[in-house]
Each structure stands twice: as structure tokens, then as C-alpha cells.
């Protein structure tokens, strides 16, 4: 009970810390989900294509990115690239825009690799007869993909994709290593001023849960909508 009280006091007193962290985490996750899905779709198409060099490239990319920790990728992107002369531009009016860009890039690159595998599995799970039927009805291969295979694939991969989106929200806590003031960074700041680690972490956990729960409900809603379409 005392612990709960502590959490409430922490939350009300350091409300501004947490809310700023939530805003930054949402910005990060939103851009990452968007860019990661685009990148992942491209990679999946490359991997399933007939052109060997791009197929090979997509394979190497996916294996390498999935096989290395996100934290190291973030560090190299933000601290390593400037050493070879590539810097993220600082935009006017937005403070720390270079950090945000590096964080979003690293997370999109990372998430893209996972999304690519999800989409590939979805496309491959659509029965081959569907493609054959569409092709024999006179659909071009692009049309077949767009109008026959992908609609069925997306319905199948939604749960896995939703899983990935939830993961992105939680994993965004890693970008605090390059000084992006996301929810985890702000929580650490609260801890370092109050020394109340467990209570602060519990507050953060609840906030993360609210965000991920909302996301998974959204995905479930989309799943239901899509199920209606087929009956």
C-alpha cells in the first residue's frame, strides 16, 4: 500500500518528466513502425524476387541486422558515422533533431529486418493455387501480388505484425543510450533525483503497458474488420 502511495506521489510530482518521455517514445515508435513497415515490405519483395543480387542483398541485410543488438546499431549510427564524416543534420526549431533522426533510423533499420521476415512468411503462406488461378485468369504478376496475394497475406500476418509494433514501443527504451529523452531516459532521471528506483520503474511499466495495450487493441480491431470482409 505504501508502495502504491509512493508511485502516485512520484507520478504527480514528476508528471512533466513522464509525459515528455511518453511524447518522445510515441514519436519514435510511430516513425519507426511507419518506416520499418515500408522498409520491411521492400526487403520482403526483394527476398522473394527472381533477381539474384537483390535477393542476396536482402538476405545479408536481414541476417546481419537481426543478428546484432539494437543498442550497438544505435551507437554506431550516432557516434560511429560522424567519425567517417556522415552526420545527421540538426533541424532548426526542433531540439535534438539529430539524435531523434539517428534513433528513428536505427530502429527502422532494425524493425525492417523483422517486418521483412513477417511479410515474407505471410506471402509464402498464401496457397500457390491462388497465384496460378489469378495468372490463368489473365492477371499480370504485379496485379496478382497486389490484388490477390497481398490482401490475403496481410490478414494472416496482422497478429505477428502487431507483435512487432508492441516490441518497437518497448525496444525504443534502448535509444536512451544516445540521449533521446524517451520514457526510459526520463524514468532514469527521476530515479537519479529521488533514488526511488522500484517505484519509478513501476510507474514507467504501467505507462508502457497502457501504450502497448492500446496498440494491440488497435491491431485486434483491424483483424476483426478484415475477418468481416471475407465472410
Amino acid at each position: 500500500m505504501e508502495f502504491l502511495e509512493k508511485m502516485v506521489t512520484l507520478f504527480t510530482k514528476y508528471n512533466s518528466f513522464f509525459s515528455q518521455g511518453v511524447a518522445n517514445t510515441i514519436i519514435l515508435a510511430l516513425f519507426t513502425v511507419l518506416l520499418g513497415t515500408i522498409l520491411g515490405t521492400l526487403l520482403a519483395i526483394m527476398k522473394l524476387g527472381k533477381f539474384a543480387p537483390t535477393r542476396w542483398l536482402a538476405n545479408v541485410y536481414i541476417e546481419f541486422i537481426r543478428g546484432t543488438p539494437l543498442m550497438i546499431q544505435v551507437m554506431f549510427l550516432f557516434y560511429g558515422l560522424p567519425m567517417v564524416g556522415i552526420t545527421f543534420p540538426s533541424l532548426p526549431f526542433i531540439s535534438n533533431s539529430d539524435r531523434f533522426m539517428a534513433g528513428i533510423c536505427a530502429m527502422s533499420i532494425n524493425s525492417g529486418a523483422y517486418v521483412a521476415e513477417i511479410i515474407r512468411s505471410g506471402i509464402q503462406a498464401v496457397d500457390k493455387g491462388q497465384t496460378e488461378a489469378a495468372r490463368s485468369l489473365g492477371f499480370k504478376s504485379g496485379q496478382t501480388m497486389r490484388m490477390v496475394v497481398l490482401p490475403q497475406a496481410i490478414k494472416n500476418i496482422l497478429p505477428a505484425l502487431g507483435n512487432e509494433f508492441v516490441t518497437v514501443i518497448k525496444e525504443s527504451s534502448i535509444v536512451s543510450v544516445i540521449g533521446i529523452a524517451d520514457l526510459m531516459y526520463q524514468t532514469n532521471s527521476v530515479i537519479s533525483t529521488t533514488y526511488k528506483s522500484l517505484a519509478s520503474l513501476a510507474v514507467a511499466a504501467i505507462i508502457y503497458f497502457i501504450m502497448t495495450f492500446f496498440t494491440s487493441r488497435l491491431i485486434a480491431f483491424a483483424e476483426r474488420k478484415m475477418a468481416n470482409g471475407t465472410r
Partner: protein
């Protein structure tokens, strides 16, 4: 095909099992090695500093008895802060703070167990009783004193402003740092110093000093504020940064370092204070400090 898969799976399983076994035994042996190294290190240092052995048997109390019954003194630290606490080539905990920890363990007649954790986590670990003493170059501050007890001060150090090479004469005054980002490790006294002494600058916090040094080297932030000893180490290990011609005044940054003990453990605090008084007055702590500086410099690449 199925048979081959089964064999492959079995091989992977047994490999992972073997890996587990190997890992646990290696940690055990390394722990043994480190305690051995710590004890030999302590004895060689004691010999080199020609310290007299002190008698601490008169110090007794509830906490001391509990530690003696346990047979080990658990010291919490963050071993990323050379020359105070860091790891040598064999991953043993070294540094003058670790030397001091060994002296305290010897005074109690128990083994030393070092718990490496995030700096932010040390005070909570002391409060929860997981750690007996925190020795991590803790600077005495009022805010911390409300949460835990400090021992007597065992070391004083100047605060240093580090900037990108070439900017040594650019940031020499507080006015020149106005509007600039100045960094420090989160939860440290340096981050408080920036807020109190450089109110016109923006505080920038990260979890690790080496990362902050990279921030300065890349020009993301103007400067960082560190302990003199640590600052020298950072500069030695990074060609792109240098010390600025900037000094904090005496009253701004007169920081002493002390060990941290949970409130109410006065018997342990008295013993720690006695050890600190002995090793600082006979010069053996200074010798350990110089040794740690030399070791950390020799490890630089």
C-alpha cells in the same frame, strides 16, 4: 533427412548444455581468481607501502557480527571509473576504491565480494541491504546524506572541464558556456555542479562517461564536467578532447569522496572511518591511488 535433423538438434542441445556448464564453471573460477588476485594484490600493496597492520578487533556491533557470520563483505560499485574502480586485463576489480574495499574486508577478517552495478543502483542496493558498503567515488552531498550515511572523506579531487581539442581557449568562462550543452553522467555530483555553477548552460546527461567523451569529440555538446583523475584518463584515451582553461571556484566544487553505508549501521561506519583514517594518514591510500593511475594508463590503447 529426419534422422539428420534429429542428430543435429541433439548436437545443438548438448552443445548449449555444455556451454552452460562451461559458463558457470568459468565464472566460479574467475571469481576465485579475482578474490585470489585481490588478496595477493592487497598483500603486495601492503608490502610496497610498508603499512603496519592495524588491530580492529575492538570494533563490534550488530552489523559487524552479521558480516563476520556471513564471511564476506559485499561492496557495491560501478567498475567503469578509472582510476577509482575499473577492471584489469583479467577482469579483476582494481583501482584505489577497490584497494580500500579490500582493506575494510581485511579489517573485518572476511572475504571481499564486489558487486558491479549501475551507479544509480548502488544507493538503492545499500538501502535494501543487498550491499554492505558502497565505494564508487561517491561525492558527499546533502541530498544523498538524507538517504544514506557517509563515512569520512578519503579523497579530494578537482573538477575538470573537458572540451573538443582546439576549443581549450574558447570555453574559459561561464559566459562562454552560456546557451551551450554541458554534459555529465546522470545522477552524479557533476551534473548537480553544472546546474548550480553553470545555470546559463543546458545540462546534458547520459549513463556513461566514455559515451559523453564521444559526444564532446563529435561536437554534439560543448563540454563535460568530470573528476580530475577521471578526466585525465578520458583525455589520455581520446585524442579528440582536451582540458579547457577553466576552473571552478573553491566554494563551487569542493568535493570530497566517501564510502556509503546504510543508515543505522553505525558500528560498521565507525570501523570504515577507522580504516580510512589509518590508510590516509600513513600514505598507503595515496600509494594505492598512484598505482591505480599507473595501471589505468598502462591499459590504455
Amino acid at each position: 533427412m529426419k534422422k539428420f535433423l534429429a542428430i543435429a538438434m541433439a548436437a545443438v542441445l548438448s552443445l548449449s548444455l555444455a556451454a552452460c556448464g562451461g559458463a558457470s564453471s568459468s565464472t566460479a573460477s574467475s571469481a576465485a581468481a579475482s578474490s585470489e588476485a585481490a588478496s595477493t594484490g592487497a598483500s603486495s600493496q601492503a608490502a610496497s607501502a610498508s603499512t603496519t597492520t592495524y588491530d580492529y578487533s575492538s570494533y563490534t556491533g550488530e552489523t559487524i557480527e552479521a558480516i563476520k557470520a556471513k564471511g564476506k563483505l559485499v561492496v557495491g560499485t560501478e567498475a567503469q571509473y578509472a582510476p577509482f574502480e575499473f577492471k584489469d586485463m583479467d577482469a579483476n576489480f582494481v583501482g584505489c576504491d577497490m584497494w580500500l574495499a579490500q582493506q575494510i574486508a581485511d579489517a573485518l577478517g572476511v572475504e571481499l565480494e564486489v558487486m558491479d552495478m549501475a551507479f544509480d543502483g548502488i544507493i538503492p542496493a545499500i538501502k535494501s541491504g543487498q550491499v554492505d558498503v558502497g565505494i564508487a567515488a561517491f561525492t558527499v552531498t546533502e541530498e544523498r546524506a538524507q538517504e544514506i550515511d557517509f563515512s569520512d572523506v578519503y579523497q579530494k579531487d578537482e573538477q575538470m572541464l573537458i572540451v573538443k581539442k582546439g576549443n581549450e581557449d574558447v570555453y574559459t568562462t561561464k559566459e562562454s558556456l552560456a546557451g551551450q550543452q554541458v554534459g555529465a553522467q546522470r545522477g552524479t555530483v557533476q551534473s548537480q555542479l553544472i546546474q548550480s555553477a553553470l545555470p546559463e548552460s543546458t545540462l546534458f546527461e547520459l549513463d556513461k562517461w566514455p559515451t559523453l567523451a564521444m559526444e564532446v569529440a563529435n561536437g554534439n555538446i560543448a563540454a563535460i564536467v568530470v573528476d580530475g583523475a577521471v578526466g585525465n584518463d578520458l583525455i589520455n584515451s581520446n585524442d579528440a578532447i582536451a582540458q579547457a582553461n577553466f576552473t571552478f571556484s573553491e566554494e563551487e566544487a569542493n568535493f570530497g569522496k566517501a564510502a556509503v553505508i546504510a543508515k543505522g549501521k553505525d558500528d560498521l561506519k565507525e570501523l570504515v572511518n577507522a580504516v580510512i583514517a589509518n590508510v590516509t594518514s600513513d600514505g598507503s591510500f595515496d600509494a594505492a591511488y598512484d598505482e591505480a593511475v599507473a595501471l589505468s594508463e598502462s591499459m590504455g590503447v
